[in-house]
């Protein structure tokens, strides 16, 4: 799993690429949390355009970041959810609490 970070208007954007499973999720979680804490971000945009596979471990990662930022009155959203990962998201009911946008530009405008 490869992560690329950008920031825009005090929002941290993480572009993920590769396979998000139990094996990769721990590293992904640690790297994102380090970045959130180091630069005191409280808004996070997680981009899934490059994610070719995801199982329920990915849901744990997104919900975990949601909980973390929710405690700081922050926000998490997801972008570029493709059909291969969409079903896992839908099954988890996560879209009820976390917004999904077509692309990062829209997410920056809305959160």
């Amino acid at each position: 799993m490869h992560l690329n970070f950008e920031n825009s208007q005090d929002k941290l954007i993480v572009y993920m690429s590769g396979e998000l499973d139990h094996h990769s999720s721990e590293e992904v979680r640690n790297i994102i949390d380090d970045r959130l804490d180091r630069d005191r971000f409280n808004k996070l945009i997680m981009d899934f355009n490059g994610v070719s596979f995801m199982d329920s471990s990915g849901i744990g990662v997104v919900i975990g970041r949601y909980r973390k930022l929710h405690m700081r009155n922050g926000e998490v959203c997801v972008t570029n959810i493709k059909s291969s990962v969409k079903r896992v998201f839908e099954l988890s009911g996560m879209f009820k609490i976390i917004m999904s946008y077509d692309d990062v530009e829209q997410a920056i405008k809305n959160i």
């Binding site: 499973d21 199982d55 471990s57 099954l91």
Partner: protein, 142 residues
């Protein structure tokens, strides 16, 4: 009626999750699956193997066995560990339940397996291990 089967054994290292799902998916390509069907199988296998690693073996390194069988248009995947077994199976099968909230698990593993495959059966003996038996029927190409 075509029949085929494979059996693979590997250490319960998280690095092997990717290997396990790709190996079963490669075997299932004999059924001329759609991309969506293959993705369903990969996701279900990944969940079952993750369960064996985290819950069955508590991250200790032991062997996981996967048997995959093709019978006509049906694929059966059996994922076995010889770990500690499931305390309360009824509870474990409930969506969003996790016995390890400390690990940021979503509690969706069995729900994903059940939804992405056509059938799911879990056999577990305390102290002896768990077997997950999943079946999926593939639509034949017309």
């Amino acid at each position: 009626m075509c029949h085929n089967n494979i059996k693979i054994e590997f250490l319960s290292k998280s690095q092997n999750e990717g290997f396990a799902r790709v190996a079963v998916a490669a075997f299932a390509t004999q059924l001329d699956p759609t991309i969506e069907e293959i993705n369903d199988v990969k996701t279900a296998v990944s969940e079952a193997v993750t369960n064996a690693i985290i819950h069955g073996y508590d991250n200790e390194e032991q062997m996981i066995t996967i048997e995959a069988i093709i019978d006509g248009n049906e694929l059966t995947v059996i994922v076995c560990d010889t770990g500690k077994g499931i305390d309360n199976l009824e509870l474990a099968l409930q969506p969003l339940y996790t016995s390890r909230p400390d690990l940021e698990r979503s509690g969706m593993g069995f729900t994903v397996m059940d939804s992405f495959m056509d059938s799911l059966e879990v056999k577990s003996d305390k102290g002896r291990g768990t077997s997950i038996i999943m079946k999926k029927l593939f639509t034949p190409l017309s």
